[in-house]
Subunit: 453 residues, 2 copies
């Protein structure tokens, strides 16, 4: 029995390791275009700004280690050319340019996503970068050493983390974003404004919102020396295109797997429309827990959880991947931001009436040194069930969002959250947790509605 | 309408403020023995060791502020002498020793608890202290300035926090505890050992377990100069009796309120057996969520939540106090420890079979600097429902325990917790949260049991 896994990101390698954990016999072959495997793409911005000393630090395993410790063959720098799902066979080109055929019993597509770069003038100039792989990160860091200013296109988490990293290296940084807010997919505008205020005032990043990057301008050597935004020229030495990621679905198409609305369609077992082909990670589409609609979930955590589900099912252990909340967190400088479930904007877009509970409070007793402000936004449907939460603040943000994720999955109401027994000690919390305060605020609003009815 | 509240701790003052929040007319009188009100008793050890600069910092409001801002009369340094619940009347002695009668429409007993000091030889010597009030804290801090060594009797959270504080001030510290472990009510012995190892090896506190403090020995001036433990003499200049707290139920008895197994019996509304007398805080008994048995819940958070419930019911808003998990957290030096729900020991004592899931992991991606080890213990009943959790580690402990508290209240299984979508970014978490790892460990154990059956 042989399983071939295409792709060596978190999804592919977790699938491989999960299969090996439960089955010592199966032959496992991972084929990847990448040179470096098993690194954390989320960590790249932190290496750029030297919070993590080097790129080597974020590479967790080598292909040799996979072979030695887990009997998993990882074939790097190799591209899959052809898929023959009728005969359970693929053709790939290895790093010596040999074309090799390989049959499989199971195939796993973990082909990930590719940065989406809009087709504007100048994107091929020297000094324009995308940020996806560790090699991208290395190139950006090297080029930044001789640069004074950068324009980052896209104010999602990756764009902002990279903007912050380059600002830390001493560059002047302008972020340009088409949406009317930063972090448009993660936070509502009110919460995003808190983050933007910090990045503008405390970090010194400049923002241009509601404008696309028009074109990139180069000098006679073909090097970036500026960009045009809304008709205005901005000088810069570098441009980072953090304008989104698209699922890689070409191989799935070649294999004849059903493609859904956004990406490869899979069932709860992470199985494609072809029973012995599974797909995991950024290349598949998933179900949103709140709206029940199809969505994408391009997160490392999703990739890992999907890899476990696929791996278990391949070895015959039943496992299901649940609909997602798309919980996310980022830390940029001194500010931590996280969100889970539905946003207020998302609710409006889905024509779902919601009540919002808010609280602004400290993370420690107010007399205890070092407490940080955090702001909590809780989104409840009209049955008082919590459907979303966003938190921005100085510390202890991620775990609070995780706590709300548990509440959402278990159909908790704001009344229930207001009555939860949060633990308390002055150095680590307030006697009433900010989550409980936000829940109380939502309860008060429901009471007002009930009174008026 | 007049409500009299006896006691100015968190329970009494929260009741007062809650009543005022919803009712601007009612006369509210708080009578208290204390001189200082509205301070945080949990903060006292942190003032002793100068983590919080002064005792004034932990006093949040003065009686004058209560009068001015909330029209609440706080009568300090006054003792209630007599209760006449037939005629809705109390008699108290004010600080000028006048005996005053006062009638009420509602009475709230927020009489708290008193340190339990075992009747051993020498407890009245100079240099023996209990720790309950801010005045106790001031006396300990002052006496410690001229002391070189201290014996702390009792290794609960207050005892350990005080031991640490005095060690920080430069004293030699010995903690003596009758139980075979420290933190016997909060943690299981395996988790307590991690804390003890840190306090012994990194902080330098000495522990004597499974031994009572035999007697305290004084010099010719009546000052402590040592103590006898298990027949052996230990020299010291101070002794702190952190040997537990007993509910103050004398006034409730005088009023004719029903006393339960441990303390004042109340219903879900915090109402005693006498309908217009409520009781809140350390002087009442509550129901344990897991065992459904009567227990005590001497925590500031419980006091606050009970005060809100009593206050709302007094003004005619229905509110219920739920059974408790007795969630607790403490931070001592660099280590944070927290627990919620049932312990493994508690399960054995209640003859409840449980499965324990454990995990030891970092709080940040392993390549991200500053990550701290945390150890998670998850306790599940044989239906796989999570019934308890304990965590010990360097950071982000309290919120994880809170997340599990939500899970326990909402009947979450270990399988569900293993599949929760924890948010992830390298500076704040691991790609698989330690809680999910512990839940997976429990799931694996259940699978083994199912296989063998």
């Amino acid at each position: 029995m042989r399983v071939i896994i295409i792709g060596s990101g978190a999804a592919g390698l977790t699938t491989a390791s999960t299969i090996r954990r439960y089955n010592k016999e199966m032959e496992i072959v991972v084929i990847t275009k990448d040179k470096h495997i098993a690194y954390s793409p989320c960590a790249i911005p932190y290496v750029i700004c030297n919070e993590i000393p080097s790129f080597e630090d974020i590479i967790m395993h080598t292909p040799e280690e996979y072979k030695r410790d887990r009997h998993i063959d990882v074939i790097t720098e190799s591209e899959v050319l052809d898929m023959d799902s009728e005969n359970n066979k693929i053709t790939y080109k290895d790093k010596e340019n040999n074309e090799i055929e390989l049959t499989y019993d199971y195939l796993v597509l973990a082909t990930g996503g590719s940065p989406f770069v809009p087709p504007i003038e100048g994107v091929d100039l020297k000094g324009v970068f995308k940020l996806r792989t560790i090699e991208d990160g290395m190139r950006i860091k090297e080029y930044a050493e001789n640069s004074k200013s950068v324009i980052v296109a896209g104010a999602g988490a990756i764009g902002l983390e990279t903007a912050y990293a380059l600002k830390e290296l001493g560059l002047d940084v302008v972020v340009v974003e088409m949406a009317p807010q930063i972090l448009p997919r993660a936070l509502d505008i009110d919460m995003a404004k808190i983050v933007m205020k910090y990045l503008e005032e405390d970090v010194g990043i400049k923002f241009i919102l509601e404008k696309p990057l028009g074109k990139i301008v180069g000098d006679e050597d073909g090097k970036v020396n500026g960009a045009v935004i809304d008709g205005e020229f901005y000088g810069c030495d570098m441009v980072i295109m953090a304008t989104g990621v698209r699922p890689n679905i070409e191989l799935a198409k070649k294999a004849g797997c059903e493609i859904g609305r956004w990406a490869i369609r899979v069932n709860e077992k992470m199985q494609t429309s072809i029973p012995n082909i599974y797909a995991v990670g950024d290349c598949v589409e998933v179900v949103d827990l709140i709206t029940k609609q199809i969505t994408l979930s391009p997160f490392g955590t999703t990739a890992v959880r999907q890899g476990k589900v696929a791996g278990k099912n391949i070895v015959g252990i039943e496992a299901k991947f649940n609909p997602v909340l798309n919980a996310m967190v980022s830390k940029i400088g001194d500010i931590e931001m996280a969100g889970t479930g539905m946003s207020e904007l998302g609710a409006h877009q889905n024509r779902l009436e919601v009540i919002v509970g808010k609280a602004r409070a400290l993370t420690r007793a107010r007399y205890y040194p070092g407490g940080k402000l955090i702001e909590v936004k809780l989104i409840c449907d009209m049955n008082k069930n919590i459907v979303g939460c966003q938190i921005v603040g100085g510390e202890r943000v991620a775990e609070r969002v995780d706590a709300v994720s548990i509440g959402i999955v278990k159909n908790m109401t704001c009344n229930e959250l207001a009555n939860i027994e949060f633990c308390y000690a002055p150095p680590v919390s307030m006697v009433i947790d900010p989550l409980a305060l936000a829940a109380e605020n939502a309860c008060d609003k429901f009471k007002k509605i009930e009174k008026n009815e």
